[in-house]
Subunit: 362 residues, 2 copies
């Protein structure tokens, strides 16, 4: 059971390189992609599967797609969603056909959010937030899971292609709701290929890895249908501010949601676990322990675009010339600008949701 | 595991009264229904669940529904389907709103029959055969499972309402394909109540009992939605001509399909296991062992409508005045007339399929 990653659950992934080994994943090499983005350059995207197919498609200007789903629960998203959008945006710029689905069936079954309510929330918040974070809506095809009868047919059909034991090997257990959710996601992942077979890439947090592996398993079992095996990039979690492994709603101080009032975000940053030393004297002498610093990690992953700027801060902080208090000041300024801009962009995107291209029911 | 009935499988049910006890079913009492049909009068429908609700709805002229599904595989149906149609027809005459669904998703996943092919077969054969057997098409609403997005939504939603252990307790195992099939059937069974809550009855062979129990379980877990618990009648298997418990395609001599060339049907009847004695002398002296006689059972269940006629044959055969050869002659004549009529009626019904009322996709 040690090899199970649970997409719905609580499993902690302590060691990313062990994960790569256990699941036979590929180590991510940013050099095979043109103009890698911040997440790719900085090792936040640390792994993937089928990456060469996508790199080749980009190089040879062949059709490929990028796809992701939004679960329309709550009225906030998180930094994990931001990473997904940044990866979508990257591949979108490289020419990928882009699909965003709203997993309203999942939200209804798992969270009790009615389909109507899920639709409302997605249009009011989640889709505008994705656009605010960099998704190009003009180049994106959207659909609601509950409208996509082809995906539902596919899920039912693929259910025959996997045994209970195979499902358990991937997911740890085989509850009816996991089976519906996972197989519907397989349908979603392959959906862009229903009309035209082509490579596709699914950028996900590593906890979603089982869905990618399940889809690849099923594609291998229906070879005569000639689907391309879906590729994926896997990114790390955004570290929790209180030093826990992953931000979690159960620990509000660990978590900055999107959007969040900049004052609250700054307050949380000020309380965050850093790599600063116990006294100023020691700090100046030994410098910060950057690997333990949640604020630096947050800036690296999300708040500082320019590599030179980040390198400069790294050196100053590592050497002890910059204190953790000064680092937090910088982070607070950055996140304030980011949150103000995000709110503005969400509002603007919301005004244009009626222009989006949705696949119709049926 | 002794308590499992497998709707997809091979379980034999040796003792119907034990089944009633194990599953807390009701013994069927034909007296609570007006003008019970042949199957109800003769104990072929031997059990049910929630029967009083339906009997009350009939008496009080309240809305209720009857529903069944057709799996459009093969180009034959069997006596089990005939019993279902006769029960539907009975409740239809008592005022039930009638729903027939074509389980094309099931046929695709389980039998590899494409949705297009399933649709074609259902329109060309299965639906006309149901009409030929007594279904009133003018009073029936039809749908293809693959068109019914509401049923698919419901299946997904209900998947959260049942655990793996509960599913296994009903079905013996919890494979992904069983889970999709069973939960989609739950959606089908409740579908007529989506717009209007009302009692409903599902006439099934006893092997389908787990679907009824699962649906009732789920209705109990979503009480605030106020669905009526679906009711059911359970009928026995039509005995296999070679003395096995159930007709089976794996033993062609055991099985008369519908329709079948009357000559072949008669040949099978002539080879059938009877309750006749080893010699004519013994037969005249001791009479037939009717409980072991597959031909008499076939006539009782399907070929003789008039109770007086059946009683007369029973007495003659039981007393030894009628031989098993003579009994087979009667059965052969009856089945010949039946098959010729059936073929005619199917042809006629096929010409009118374009007039049927189908629920549209979406």
């Amino acid at each position: 059971m040690a090899k199970i990653i649970d997409p719905w659950g609580t499993t902690l992934i302590e060691d990313y390189s062990k994960l790569i080994k256990d699941f036979h994943l590929e180590t991510f090499n940013p050099k095979i992609f043109p103009n890698p983005n911040r997440l790719m350059r900085r090792g936040v995207v640390f792994s993937g599967i089928g990456l060469k197919e996508i790199s080749d498609a980009i190089k040879n200007k062949k059709s490929f797609y990028v796809l992701s789903g939004i679960v329309p629960s709550g009225n906030k998203i998180h930094f994990g969603n931001k990473m997904v959008v940044e990866m979508i945006s990257y591949f979108q710029k490289q020419g990928a056909e882009t699909y965003i689905l709203v997993a309203d069936l999942e939200a209804e079954a798992a969270r009790g959010i009615s389909l109507e309510e899920g639709r409302k929330r997605a249009l009011k918040f989640h889709i505008p937030a994705y656009i605010a974070l960099g998704l190009d809506p003009k180049k994106t095809i959207f659909y609601f899971q509950s409208d996509n009868i082809d995906v539902m047919h596919a899920a039912y059909k693929y259910s025959k292609k996997i045994t209970e034991a195979q499902f358990k090997a991937l997911y740890g257990s085989a509850t009816p709701s996991k089976i519906f959710s996972a197989l519907t996601q397989v349908g979603d992942i392959l959906y862009p290929q229903f009309k035209k077979r082509m490579p596709g890439i699914i950028p996900v947090g590593v906890d979603q890895c089982p869905h990618i592996l399940l889809t690849r398993d099923i594609v291998n079992r229906i070879r005569k249908e000639k689907f391309f095996l879906p590729s994926a990039t896997f990114h790390k979690y955004t570290p929790s501010l209180n030093g826990h492994f992953k931000m979690s709603k159960s620990m509000p101080e660990s978590l900055i949601e999107l959007p969040e009032d900049p004052k609250i975000a700054c307050r949380k940053i000020k309380k965050a676990v850093t790599g600063g030393r116990d006294t100023l004297e020691e700090h100046r002498k030994y410098g910060a322990i950057i690997e333990k610093d949640m604020v630096f990690e947050l800036m690296k992953q999300h708040l500082i675009e320019d590599d030179n700027e980040l390198n400069h801060i790294y050196k100053e902080y590592k050497s002890g010339r910059m204190t953790s208090g000064e680092l937090k000041e910088i982070a607070c300024k950055k996140i304030t600008v980011f949150m103000i801009n995000l709110e503005k962009k969400i509002k603007k995107a919301r005004q244009n949701v009626n222009k989006l291209k949705f696949i119709k029911r049926g």
